[in-house]
Symmetry: C2
Subunit: 605 residues, 2 copies
């Protein structure tokens, strides 16, 4: 079973193609400019010295690496010589400044040269992993081996130090990433050494409970980096959410490639645990404390952390699970995150970003002292700017997420107008999707190739689909020249949360297809928690080009604040007055003025 | 206009008389024992030295003082020679260890002897104020002048240092209290010097914006101690809630006694500001950060601070406002606090206390990391144990809160079975109330005395009262021998909050008379936020002796958690199932096992 790469899938039009265009034309370049403004680009000159401004940070290499990876993906799809040159110049710097032994890290070369490989929490192997992902991407996009050669050399050093000799002060990285990057290196080069390296890091995890100085580490601290238990025994999504996602990705990669049933069972259980700690937007890691998972169902809306990178990581994990355990569930969670908690991280114009993605922006006048609220306006760059280039690489490679194949079985698990080349057991095949998804549930499929079986994911939101569904998929037999028309009835619906989600008790979220909606004060006036949505069957649905999606108008009610003479009064004295509530896609919030925003809303019973 | 003192009002039976009995027989003694366990009592021996355990704290004098005041109030009502001897022994220690110049403070005598009057935030004048209140109480209860003499001597020193010479490092105390205590000293002794001292402290407040070292103090820090503006210009309740209440009490005291209209207007505005920042229980100071007021309507339920002392302070303020500006509003707020957020501070057995009074105890399994939740089980003593002896003095002197008189006008503003002697312009009068309030709204009133006008407060909760009401009072003409029967129709009702109280949006609280109700998991099972209350007209009301109040049974609905296969699902898949919800008075929560608890509940529309 294999996920089809975006290299074989071209998005032709519609929602994701539009996002890719904005991404290629604006986001990738804008992030480069901000990375230059902040000194990240120049840090690759290795000229920084104490006293200079713009001191390189331990994670800057990873920012540049994800930008290189994003640029590579863009270059795979379109010619852009200037973009190529920006990337190639950075790669030249890597080759120029890499150590003779293969070591490459700006921070530990120019800022703390004596300290390499001494602190697992300082992102050294994390940066190495991202540089490896960039190297694979650049090579595959351009055929240029320079960065890949550098990273093969670096990987050899890491193999020697961490896998063979095990002489370093730590056995596994504090921030996972290199584990999944090594699998990409293996896939790209065919060199099994990288798979073994990844396996070693994965197997060592949770088995070394001492810190770099030989002191035992507290359980909470170990949990924060998923090192509290050997990974095969882990069943609960804990700790730093992005780290967890990257770890689980690597576990799923290895489970698939090594046919490791124990690892697969751990992945399945961990995925379910993630789902019990996930916002309706696919956001995960609800608390800013440790940027981490909390307990099941602890999902506060106004203080939600829900880092963009974590939602992207969840998509990466779900994609791997789709190949490992082909069930509709994974595609459902993928689209929950992709259309909501991932895309909310980037402005409609593609230039500004959220690191945190709350599900409510309360009125500023109602802010509690001492409560940490996320920012309410996207920024072009952050001090810790992992999310922007993570978004650009995710969007540029979105074609990664449409198909999985095995022999003559095709799994179509995400919808987007596209043309794909598939390598089936019976030979090459071409499959074309034409759809306005997520504005409509109509998907036309045209097929050319050998006889095959097409498994189409019927989304969890689509209870009205007519036809047999097994494990979340509807099965169609395909012959050469087959044409299918899939109708996924799409209407606005009220979604409720398990009552254990205290923050959402007595409230509903509105979904239309996979898209979660929100109210903004800009459209609806202030004090949104007072709004009571009415009859959903009277809602109007209107496509709005600005969003590449629909907006909803729903009959609703609210109180007149003038009816409250005192803070407390007998119910019924203040009447509910009708108005029409306008709801926009959650991913599009905060694109106008800074405004109150609400996802979980009251609704008539 | 004058509030009638508890010395002239004897509670004869019913709710408050029962509380006074438990208070006298158990609470006052229990607190003494805990104050002995913790070294507070022994600190009055002045023998502590560096290295000894149980180091005196800056506020311990005030704990002992409020205990002495409580004991005095108990001794006013009943003979208890043992209790008298415990108090008298402490008073002997005060006389013994008071400085030759009149100074009295344990901490600044035995712990930091060189530092007296150097730090306004170290509670020195606050402790002095509480000792003065105790001195007045003890003298009035026993006729023994020893403590009053000591405090007159101390007051003379304070007058010299802070009022005449103004030579000390600060001009007003960081924690208000002495201002109102000096008014009591004036009332007790007739010495106008004390009134002038109070006036000076009040007038100086907000006019000295430098700290003890001559540095200017930040605005937020000044607000925390109500020193950001001259008091006559203050219109917003800010900062530490207990300090604010004690300040406003003194302002109201002076406004009445000095006939100061500007001060009165400030008091009226500040009272209204308090009401915009007040829980339905009368709790104030919603945030633990600074134990302070937040912005209007910021009233989170699960993290509510709502210190018991602040609710008591609000009662003290409301009582003074009743005399200053006789409107029903003040008695309404008084009873909101007294029957709810004050009494929740003490267990039914009178021995254990809450410092904080949340309106929700969420399931422990749903606790967010990093969020500070109040404790869920009352304790017998706290490190900062101001609340227990504040409760005992409040309960013992509850008779303070029934009547206000002026000429031949009697204001009856709280209900309790009682006999009162009133001094009217036309001569002495006796008024007897007989009632089961708050279990019933029937109040029988018998009167003997000269012709008078009786203004009876018609509570804000009683919209069904038949008859004319002006400024919250119904007017009756009294002749000698008059008998009245007041019927305040009492039925359970749903109360809603102003929609700007985000925490309560879409929810109701249940009140029966002045009593706010809550659900506990002990009666209703867990996940209370899912409970939807149904038809209130089908509720059953049952008096329960344990609470001296009624419990309510209300038809209700909830989901079966087994109906949730996933965290999010289309509304309607899980049915609401009927059950009978049991609600108990909020003041009685947490008297059984530690349990989830909820005030603001969902209700059918």
């Amino acid at each position: 079973m294999k996920n089809v790469s975006f290299h074989d899938v071209r998005l032709t039009s519609g929602f994701w193609a539009d996002r890719q265009r904005i991404n290629a034309e604006r986001s990738v370049r804008s992030i480069y400019d901000r990375f230059r403004d902040t000194g990240r680009v120049q840090s690759f000159d290795f000229t920084w010295k104490e006293g200079d401004p713009q001191k390189p940070h331990i994670f800057w290499d990873s920012d540049i690496a994800k930008w290189l990876e994003s640029a590579a993906y863009v270059l795979s799809e379109r010619k852009d010589p200037a973009l190529h040159d920006l990337g190639a110049a950075l790669i030249d710097r890597v080759a120029e400044h890499q150590g003779a032994d293969g070591y490459f890290n700006t921070y530990y070369t120019v800022v703390e040269p004596g300290k390499r490989f001494t602190d697992r929490n300082c992102h050294e192997l994390y940066c190495a992993g991202h540089m490896m992902e960039a190297a694979v991407a650049w090579y595959e996009a351009t055929g240029e081996r320079k960065l890949l050669d550098c990273m093969e050399k670096y990987a050899a050093l890491i193999d020697e130090k961490f896998v063979r000799a095990q002489t370093e002060k730590f056995a596994t990285p504090g921030h996972e990433e290199i584990e999944l990057a090594l699998v990409k290196m293996y896939e790209c080069t065919g060199n099994e050494r990288y798979l073994r390296m990844s396996e070693t890091f994965i197997n060592n995890r949770g088995r070394h409970l001492l810190d770099e100085d030989g002191e035992s580490v507290g359980y909470a601290k170990l949990k924060q980096v998923q090192s509290h238990l050997p990974v095969r025994e882990q069943r609960e999504a804990v700790g730093h959410a992005v780290r967890a996602m990257y770890l689980y990705c690597a576990m799923a990669d290895l489970a698939l490639r090594l046919n490791d049933g124990e690892l697969k069972q751990a992945c399945i259980a961990l995925f379910e645990s993630v789902c019990r700690r996930m916002y309706i937007t696919g956001g995960v890691g609800s608390t800013h404390i440790g940027e981490a998972f909390s307990v099941d169902a602890d999902l506060p809306n106004d203080t939600a952390y829900a880092e963009t990178c974590a939602a992207i990581g969840l998509c990466f994990f779900a994609r791997r699970m789709q190949a490992l355990d082909p069930k509709g569930r994974y595609g459902d969670v993928f689209e929950r995150a992709a259309y909501n908690g991932v895309l909310s991280g980037i402005s409609l114009d593609g230039k500004a970003f959220f690191y945190e993605n709350p599900l409510e922006i309360p009125p500023e006048a109602a802010h509690s002292p001492g409560v940490r609220y996320p920012i309410t306006k996207r920024l072009e760059v952050f001090g810790c700017s992992c999310c922007p280039p993570n978004l650009t690489r995710f969007i540029a490679a979105f074609g990664d997420n449409l198909y999985t194949v095995e022999n003559d079985d095709i799994y179509l698990w995400q919808f987007a107008s596209s043309e794909a080349e598939l390598a089936l057991a019976g030979g090459k095949a071409k499959i074309v999707q034409t759809t306005d998804y997520p504005a409509s549930g109509l998907v036309r499929i045209a097929y050319h190739g050998p006889a095959a079986r097409l498994h189409v994911r019927i989304p969890e939101w689509c209870a009205d689909y007519c036809g047999p569904v097994e494990n979340g998929f509807a099965l169609f037999d395909l012959e050469n020249g087959a044409e299918l028309e899939l109708r996924l009835p799409m209407r606005p619906r009220f979604v409720e949360a398990d009552p254990r989600v205290l923050a959402d008790a007595g409230r509903v979220a509105v979904q239309f297809g996979p898209v979660v909606y929100c109210l903004e004060a800009e459209d609806n006036g202030p004090w949104l928690r007072d709004v009571v949505l009415g009859d959903l069957s009277a809602a109007t649905v209107r496509f709005e080009k600005e969003y590449d999606a629909c907006v909803l108008e729903i009959p609703a009610f609210r109180h007149d604040l003038g009816d409250y003479g005192a803070l407390y009064q007998t119910r019924g004295r203040a009447a509910l007055r009708p108005f029409t509530a306008k709801l926009i896609p959650y991913f599009a919030f905060a694109n106008r003025t800074e405004s109150e925003m609400l996802v979980w809303t009251q609704a008539k019973g």
